[in-house]
Symmetry: C2
Amino acid sequence: MAGVDYLADERNKAEFDVDSMKIVWAGSRHTFEVADRISKLVANDPAFRKDDRPMLPRKELFKNTLRKAAYAWKRIIELRLTEEEASKLRFFVDEPAYTDLHWGMFVPALKGQCTDEQQSKWLPLAYKMQIIGCYAQTELGHGSNVQGLETTATFDPQTDEFVIHSPTLTSSKWWPGGLGKASTHAVVYARLITDGKDHGVHGFIVQLRSMEDHKPLPGITVGDIGMKFGNGAYNTMDNGVLTFDHVRIPRDQMMMRVSQVTREGKYKQSDVPRQLVYGTMVYVRQQIVADASCALSKAVCIATRYSAVRRQFGSQNGGPETQVIDYKTQQNRLFPLLASAYAFRFVGEWLKWLYTDVTQRLAANDFSTLPEAHACTAGLKSLTTTATADGIEECRKLCGGHGYLCTSGLPELFAVYVPACTYEGDNVVLLLQVARFLMKTVSQIGSGKQPVGTIAYMGRVEHLLKSRCSVQRAEDWLNPSQVLEAFEARATRMSVSCGQNLSKFSNPEEGFAELSADLVEAAVAHCQLIVVSKFLEKLQQDIPGEGVKQLLQAVCGIYYLSLLHKHQGDFLATSYITPKQAALASDQLRALYSKVRPNAIALVDSFNYTDHFLGSILGCYDGNVYPKLYEAAKKDPLNDTVVPDGYHEYLKPLLKQQLHSAKL
Amino acid sequence: MAGVDYLADERNKAEFDVDSMKIVWAGSRHTFEVADRISKLVANDPAFRKDDRPMLPRKELFKNTLRKAAYAWKRIIELRLTEEEASKLRFFVDEPAYTDLHWGMFVPALKGQCTDEQQSKWLPLAYKMQIIGCYAQTELGHGSNVQGLETTATFDPQTDEFVIHSPTLTSSKWWPGGLGKASTHAVVYARLITDGKDHGVHGFIVQLRSMEDHKPLPGITVGDIGMKFGNGAYNTMDNGVLTFDHVRIPRDQMMMRVSQVTREGKYKQSDVPRQLVYGTMVYVRQQIVADASCALSKAVCIATRYSAVRRQFGSQNGGPETQVIDYKTQQNRLFPLLASAYAFRFVGEWLKWLYTDVTQRLAANDFSTLPEAHACTAGLKSLTTTATADGIEECRKLCGGHGYLCTSGLPELFAVYVPACTYEGDNVVLLLQVARFLMKTVSQIGSGKQPVGTIAYMGRVEHLLKSRCSVQRAEDWLNPSQVLEAFEARATRMSVSCGQNLSKFSNPEEGFAELSADLVEAAVAHCQLIVVSKFLEKLQQDIPGEGVKQLLQAVCGIYYLSLLHKHQGDFLATSYITPKQAALASDQLRALYSKVRPNAIALVDSFNYTDHFLGSILGCYDGNVYPKLYEAAKKDPLNDTVVPDGYHEYLKPLLKQQLHSAKL
């Protein structure tokens, strides 16, 4: 029946004000209102339909993406959308496209690395999309190690040009989004060579295609790198491959804000501090954390709603079966993910503040907090993206067999999300960077240098090394200061223990390599502490709305207690808690599941996602799942005919025992 | 350069005889020889090419699968392959198809559930593929809970027929492979109703499509359920939806081996024991465990080879960068998966023996070991498929960005594998079944009933509850009896603790539901113990070949020590080991990584997979990865033209600021 809300009972159970929670989730009333308006605008426009994506062959899929991107830009102009609204519109269109790289990487690179003069030339073109740009850094043989890039940019003083060249196969640019088919220009990273001297990797603006007919310019070979994981997903993007055969560009297309090459071919640094690059890095990573929370919350919304719709077992006297969400095993897998979505939302909000703080300090030439901010954002990027990728797949499994259907939305959500674990720093490499920072902090203990920001707790190392958990009853695990100390003690002890083991090696680098698995675990402990502490800080704030704060307290409790249980080996091995206290934590966790259960649907409604944005039949708002699945199946191209293509050639001869004469 | 082995250096490092290890992996020289011969036959036949799968639209993909299945059957007939060889051929063709269900479910169901008379009618047709059958059990609204199925089969004594009917939308058969487009017949599970009485779910043979033109018979609505996760992957399969509108079948198409309906409509049991169904279940699950080992070993083979090819960081004085496989963080993620592949191989081999044992006992009306065998196979199915699904994705991440390309083979391997976590029993539901068995065993302790088979250790419960780990040096963790006791003590203590907590509830079912998360963990501990103990038992056998047993000992050590580390919370919480002993286990684990490192490539070569079967450029035998990636990219349909379809309609108007007049 159209219009019936099959989840109405669930919605009536909520013990908090959902509208208020929507504001909390969005961050502010303004952000909520913009997102609400723009998401509905997109959802109500059939031009932005996306449910056909998994069925489209690659060429049609890509062409359709080009159409949507152009249409979105047209609407942005027609509706005179603000920059914030335009960005939201692209976000809710929810389809990877060259515009992501143009706006998200190319424009920021111009702003961050070009001189004012260069910016005044290139930015107006980019802002109007008279040129389309991408960000060509990684190469076929070189990913994480930027310093290992092979592409060269050799200055030719004769002509005042750089010669961009790909000396080897492995130096081919490989992966840049928007490069394969759409971009007219690229920011290209290459080894700068002047007068035979290698100055390391620098950025250059290179035109790739003719503005007349879009054909690659002489010396440029460019194409798409082929299909990627999943149906639809990132296959809407033209990740590209690019090689240069001695391509010449004017000298003023080197991005010269930080370092320059003069007309005479002299390489020199400007007085702009190199640390500026960290500001961009903090910005990009806070965006990734925000994206993690969004992706995870979508998956959780789908799995939670379908867990309330779906019934299995437990029928008594012919009555309906039990809702799957009522099983503790389901809650034990689902609710920690729901809690993680909220946790990542709030730590992402805090990271926005951190970005502002870092930017202000950079402007004042204060670089003191940079190492801490760098370690913190690297760690949070790693933590949240790993947990989100795993969490989406877990949500898919929580939907049983139907989660495997494209119409559940979860396969595409997973496939489109997982690259986040690799791009902008491989997650394990990033944790090793965090570990280096931790080991440096540990080594400076007692030197009088006070650790700041998220590592400030190390200043209380003596206390944290000797304290013991004082929990005696399950409810004691609801005490924020007790919880904070537990996570601080665990993180401190794991770092200090690594430091002690490292000191046994005569060669510190060798020790770091040998102990890297332990170091990664110490880094994870530190990062989890940050997320827990930011969630607890959020709860110290005034949060309006009936029952909202109480629910968030329960959600926060689920977040840290499920972490504590999952990593109880750490807490026990560092002897901060006893097995008995670990068991009490599990008791409290179960109690919180019961508290959250009647609010589960309302907690995911608070994300305020449209059915279009969610893109999932299993997660549809009204819960009317089965008729929709049935109707959607009919649309598969394989159902165009009752008797399939290939019956006459391949099935009939087999059934009729006539294969010997069949042409196969 | 063609013909160069880029991994030759790695192969020369091996400290064991690879040919002997290949025999160990295959299980016997005979099995190795058959697999080697048939896999090469498939690999060398271009008709079985599969690298184009990710790019094919659904209809072409499916048609191509019909072609391959027919061609495979033709070759099986032409070459007069034995049943073993034919089955291997289908295995190495490596493409989900209706034939999987025909041979793997339909034929076994006929054999297991039909009377001799019924078998003599239907089996010859099925063996010659004059009919194609599938297995129609699950429904749109009913998966795990078979007893909840809604389809009805009502006996009509007037006509001596059953009327098969779908009373609701949720009763539509949904998921059966081969049903959507290919099958002519199905084994349909439906509630048997005679004279108004519901006798529960029984199986019926129902013809679905005309043998003349393949059109659905009257009253039957059938089609494909649409796209599933991944490129290629399971989209070669026509998982189907099927509804019945009062479809009539003769009474003798009820499968009557175990229970019957007489001409008069009387329902009665035969004297064939119902427990026979468990024999089939053990068979199917041992096959799933074998498949897990195969899928995981493919992923591990790809990730291991590419980790030896790929270099990142660590370049000194302009020399080559470090092979990724030399990083301890890489080893710490990869080698436990390599070890798991071997562990699952050996426990799968043991399960084959268990199946034989169970079959013999059933034939002798000995049902005493059935509960244990059932719990054991349920648990091992759950454990190995979960670990394999997670392991494939981890291997993908271990390949960095390139693992995200379809040409890496890993996306398809993951997508095609993950349903194993859900089908034939959802993995969490299965663990709860194991937990029930454990709780029953615990409750019978002291009753004089001796636990048998894989649960026999519970007979030593008193000792296991009070013993303490005696490890003093890292090497002590190489002592098999010490390791076995550690896993036994952990499993026992977790089960006993659950039993104690359960006894606090007045309603045992309520307690079981409330504590189900803990119970699942206890079940995992029990299952891990089984895998560890079977690996250790394997090493007690005579294993020929230079260095083979030594390497397997190191691999086994990595398996159990990485488990011990991952679950150290269990071992510490149950107070069997101390934090110091846990740290010693990690030290020993690192030492084993160093032992295995030079043998890593040889250990994956021992799987003897052809490049065709592996289906991965990153995992290709000769390691010549980059030129192959480059060439493969060119084949993407998007590269058919340099300027993409859609440029003129959507890109040019945008770049030329003419969107206002563009038709989008």
